[in-house]
């Protein structure tokens, strides 16, 4: 599990644009590139495309490091979001649809995928709040209806659009959209309830 504090320090050093910036950026790359490449590959499905996305993502991270919010606590998530969005845009701009070839069977078992693809354990650098939030998230995902959970996992991990979800799940677009919205709303309510109970 990547150390958010360390990643944040490297991002800030990268943003400084001084003689230590390249070294900090190189360390940042060494630490995070494997994850970003994995996330991109999962979405685009092709190694060479994923490598292009990795290149573009780190180019953006280099140029946008000075805009990273120093108060933000999730720099890894910020970097992953850059790679995910880039991968999603890349797929949207490609003619060939990847539906039917993109997913592994484990995603049809969202419960198994949740524990395989995500790390719900405690990271050494995590605050007590983060540890609790992580546990609530896992618990609340487990309480969602199966179709909601599967829709959310497929959208998040594979970067599927509503339309691609509808094709993959063989359901009308409206149905899938409502699963996604309801799933996220239920997830939020559940986690907020946990927060309220904890407070």
């Amino acid at each position: 599990m990547l150390d958010d504090k360390l990643v944040k320090g490297l991002l800030l050093r990268t943003a400084a644009r001084d003689e230590g910036s390249a070294l900090a950026f190189e360390r940042l790359y060494q630490m995070c590139a494997p994850l970003l490449l994995g996330v991109a590959k999962r979405i685009v499905g092709r190694q060479e495309l994923a490598e292009e996305i990795l290149h573009d993502s780190f180019t953006k991270i280099w140029s946008a490091a000075d805009r990273f919010d120093v108060l933000a606590n999730q720099p890894v998530a910020w970097m992953v979001a850059i790679a995910r969005n880039r991968a999603i845009d890349t797929m949207a701009s490609h003619d060939v649809s990847r539906v039917g070839s993109y997913h592994d069977n484990s995603l049809d078992d969202p419960d198994g995928a949740l524990d395989k693809l995500f790390d719900w354990g405690e990271a050494a650098d995590e605050s007590e709040d983060r540890r609790r939030a992580s546990a609530w998230m896992r618990d609340c995902l487990g309480r969602l209806q199966g179709v909601e959970r599967q829709s959310l996992v497929l959208a998040y991990v594979e970067g599927l659009s509503h339309g691609e979800l509808a094709i993959h799940l063989r359901k009308p677009l409206g149905t899938v959209k409502s699963w996604v919205r309801r799933g996220m709303a239920n997830l939020r309510q559940c986690v907020e309830a946990c927060m309220g109970n904890a407070g």
Binding site: A22, Y29, L35, T59, A155, S161, L187
Partner: protein, 229 residues
């Protein structure tokens, strides 16, 4: 379009984090996040609810060439410390320089005296059974005698060795030094220097601690030899 009071703001935040907010809709939402503090605040709330962390299983090690290309494209070399700017480099340099200086010094100390002041050998002193061999060397000015034994030979606690010179047949031995061991450098008594000449005999006797009480050898002669030059 203002997103801050939008009835679907929560749904938009959720879809943005999930990745299902696409294209122009996503870009407008990102712009709103910058421009409208309430949108940013709401999105932070959603992020705080939880952004799951990917497991190690997701990771794929990139090829080394990818970093090289990135480094070249971003021209990162201008943001690197030059070798001469690195504190580590100068620290290492200082250590190496110091070590090299000490090495040169040590070599000089060891080699210079040997090269310049190793006195020439003037005699080999041998024991009766041949097991004791002592080389005697004399400095060029004649005032210093260096004894080197073939093995450590130390006097006992109540014993001393005494070095004598016998200038010629029938001439009484003259004491040159009282010794604790037979690896020794001796400054010859001024009036004895002339007696250590070719043909004279050097001899070592065992004596009571502190040397011969009589001024002549009283104990066993353990080694003797003739001065050659």
């Amino acid at each position: 379009m203002k997103f801050a009071g939008h009835r679907l703001l929560d749904a938009l935040c959720a879809e943005y984090l999930l990745g299902t907010l696409r294209g122009g809709a996503r870009r407008r939402f990102e712009a709103a996040r910058k421009d409208e503090p309430l949108v940013d605040l709401r999105l932070r709330h959603w992020e705080a609810i939880g952004t799951p962390r990917y497991s190690k299983m997701m990771e794929i090690q990139p090829r080394p060439q990818l970093w090289q290309r990135l480094e070249r494209d971003l021209d990162l070399s201008q943001y690197r410390q030059r070798w001469y700017q690195r504190t580590g480099f100068w620290k290492a340099w200082a250590w190496v320089a110091t070590a090299a200086f000490l090495l040169v010094l040590a070599v000089s100390v060891r080699t210079l005296p040997i090269a310049t002041s190793v006195p020439p050998e003037i005699a080999q002193l041998s024991g009766a059974n041949g097991s004791t061999q002592i080389t005697a060397r004399r400095s060029k000015d004649g005032g210093t005698l260096v004894l080197q034994a073939n093995r450590p030979i130390l006097a006992g606690p109540n014993q001393s060795y005494e070095l004598w010179v016998i200038p010629g047949r029938g001439v009484a031995p003259i004491s040159l030094a009282v010794l604790g061991n037979l690896d020794a450098t001796i400054t010859l008594p001024r009036d004895a220097i002339a007696h250590v000449h070719a043909g004279a005999t050097l001899a070592i006797s065992t004596e009571p601690a502190g040397g011969s009480p009589t001024g002549l050898p009283t104990g066993t002669i353990i080694a003797a030899g003739q001065v050659a030059s």
